[in-house]
Amino acid sequence: MTDLAWIDAALAAARPRAVGALVRYFRDLDAAEEAFQNASLKALEAWPRNGPPRDPAAWLIFVARNAGIDAARRARKQTELPTDAAAPGDPGELVEHLDAADYRDDILRLLFICCHPELPPSQQIAVALRIVSGLSVKQIARAFLISEVAMEQRITRAKARIAAANVPFESPGPVERAERIAVVAATIYLVFNEGYSTSSEQVARAELCNEAIRLARLLLRMFADVPELLGLTALMLLNHARTPARFDDGAIVLLEAQDRARWDRDLIGEGLALLDKAMRHRTPGPYQVQAAIAALHARAARAEDTDWRQIDLLYAALERLQPSPVVTLNRAVALAKVQGPDAALAMIEPLADALDGYFHFHGLRGGLLEQLGRLAEARTCFDRAIALARTPAEAAHIRQHLDALHAR
């Protein structure tokens, strides 16, 4: 690896911890970001010359803090900065200080600020990617398929709301810490889904999945024994493992038709290992159950080996933990395999009102009716699904069904 590539990777890895500490110090997101940027520029000068520091994050915090203090002094002569910790004399001391494990709460606070429940989900994702992951506005805009200007505005609005939300800077108690972890986990899953629900093999959007997994691993390294964090990370790894097989020339390849040899075995192995660890705690949660479902798919060597009965049971558990019409809809897919299309159709009919505007509802209903030979009704469902398709790939998939119907 070249010097520059190494420094890039080291800066990205150090960023959450460094910016987290700087936010605690400056109590201001913009000031922390700016100080981190300055320190990164200094790192680009100093590291190739002096070799990499033993602890890049500590180095960056030390340099950024000093630069920030100088800037503040210039701006307002003799300003008292908050001193929750005495400014250490050299990076060595700072390293000791950071090892006191409070960096965990720094990173969690930073993530929590970005994922604040008062922000709409689209802003949570954007600001988390910008501040924590350090993606450029351009990169994020490309992933969301909107202009750079619009994304810049979205992030600016989010930051204004964050400043108004006034997140407390004290270390959280255990209950509050658990709540923060849950909020952050939900945003990480949003980032993942934003990337996963992509319509094609677009690199920019697939990057979102990698970023979500990176954030989850980061959180998991700090809070190793939280079963739902283990479950969430496993869930994302197991789903992401299928990415290489999910598209063929831009067209959707359904799970059953995917070439399982193209699934990423390393990611599957890691996901299964994490799920194993989660289950040991015997405190099930929605992420763990969804990961267990993904694991059953991952374990099936061929589509016909899939344990649909177990998947049906897991969806039933998920319905209890997190009742939602979409969960029931997914359960119906498993039920159709176990008990046939009649039972599945009976299960989803009550959802018609709740899911009337949902592409997958009409797609599944059409498919079940088609299996039952009720072709005219099936056609009506597929027409409705096409009207609701969000991507050309989704529409093309339903059109195949319609063409097949016409051929009958």
């Binding site: 990777a9 990205a12 890895a13 602890d55 990698n210 890691e270 994490l274």
Partner: protein, 123 residues
């Protein structure tokens, strides 16, 4: 003398590599390993899953099972090699080759092996 070469690096960095980058590093390391294998010196090689998959058991009257790696350090144990070396210099030379091939930061720890049982084929 048999040596164990333990590889340490910041997992936040290595797990952040793109698939292409990871493939490139593994290919570079593979070339060094092939050479050592041809010399009849390379034993088992292992790359470990991230420490998030680790479980620690604290021994005692009632062993305690904990999530996470044994030691929380800035650099994590990522994998190891077992290598036949004439001398410490020899081991250092091999580790240097591996270091150049991987190109990342981090560290190798070289430890002479006291007892080695290769075991049967696994996996």
């Amino acid at each position: 003398m048999l040596y164990a070469i333990f590889c340490y690096d910041d997992e936040a960095v290595t797990c952040g590599w793109s698939k292409d980058k990871d493939d490139e590093v593994m290919a570079n390391l593979g070339a060094v390993q092939a050479r050592l294998t041809a010399q009849g010196r390379l034993g088992p090689v292992a790359r470990l899953m991230p420490t998030t998959t680790a479980t620690t058991i604290r021994k005692g009257k009632e062993p305690v099972v904990m999530d996470g790696p044994f030691a929380e350090t800035k650099e994590q144990l990522l994998g190891f090699y077992v290598l036949e070396c004439e001398s410490l210099d020899d081991a250092i030379a091999a580790a240097n080759d591996l270091a150049r091939a991987s190109g990342s930061a981090g560290a190798f720890e070289l430890r002479p092996i006291q007892l080695f049982r290769p075991g049967g084929p696994v996996g």
